[in-house]
Symmetry: C2
Amino acid sequence: MVTVSTLQQPVRSYHHGDLRAALVAAGLKALETTAIADLSLRQLAREVGVSATAVYRHFPDKQALMQALACEGIEQLGRYQQAAAAAAGNNAAAFGATGRAYVRFALANPALFRLIFGECRDVGQSIFGDNLAASLLRDKAMKATGSDEEATRRLMIQAWAVVHGLAMLMLDGQLPADEALIDQVIDPKTLFPV
Amino acid sequence: MVTVSTLQQPVRSYHHGDLRAALVAAGLKALETTAIADLSLRQLAREVGVSATAVYRHFPDKQALMQALACEGIEQLGRYQQAAAAAAGNNAAAFGATGRAYVRFALANPALFRLIFGECRDVGQSIFGDNLAASLLRDKAMKATGSDEEATRRLMIQAWAVVHGLAMLMLDGQLPADEALIDQVIDPKTLFPV
DNA sequence: GAGGTTATGGTAACAGTGTCAACATTGCAG
DNA sequence: CTGCAATGTTGACACTGTTACCATAACCTC
């Protein structure tokens, strides 16, 4: 008995084309509607149409899958910020634009943003280091401080802390998550009137 | 057969004196060493010496217990900040002191601090509202802005965002959690040179 | 092409979790 | 003293992450 394989359905007999990628995609989609604590490894496997333990051929444990999702999220955040900076013209206005993009990304992807940080992640892979947005931030900070090494680093951290804190407080319902407040808080004229 | 009840052990026959308080205390102690996701309802019940389902006589579900722990944490944080402000003399220096206390509290109680915010909590109970530290913050901000309503609110939120973001980034290992950096970032001279 | 090796997937099971229904014990009010 | 409400226990269910072991498919060498 020969199975007809020329139908629409890929039929995926026993071997899934690229299970790892499928799991990551399913995880990202799930994070759009599911809180980070309610994300189940078995549920993800079910959605991909595979047994629960098949996951372990591609990830040593759940934490590793989470880590992969976080990596994907970091890249998405970076692209989002880069696009915002480019749209702002990559000039002085881009400084605030990347900050606003940071907060907007958090509000649009709450679970993913929390996953990027949060405890389900190995230490070491800092966003601060080799990131597009980070280098842009450093560039703007250097201009503002006149290339003072110490002051530049401090300004970068202060700016990062403001946007990160604002994003977190809005995500946690401590502050209203409206656009006007974002613009009000991330306003170069009042925030860092250097 | 009469059981001897005059020994040292309270023996707690069937009825626990105040199980609710005992559970909260055990929860707070557990949060000192356990991550928020690894906090188990059954484990807490075990430590208190009670069956797992006894918890449900005092809390409708796990979330409610978490909420109670979060409330306790909010009060602890408030007292900690108040003490820091008092030690600083309740003058202009107290502004920065409460901010530094905020971050130090987070670093000293990572899991509890995350619980205060985080998803295991009903919305609505904002720290921002009727808090000791909040009123102190508002007081200082009013002085700095000359009682401008709009500017005061913005300054408060900016200040809160900075300390919250700094605390979170340090907790998540994105920034080194050292005292010098805290002082450097929360420096009124460079942060809000109003 | 045949046959063995390796990557990949499945089954069964285990310990642990939050939660519910039904039952047991206690303290208090009448 | 008696009955009721508060409090605690037992047993069970569905679910989770994870492991040990088995099954299938792809690939590589001869």
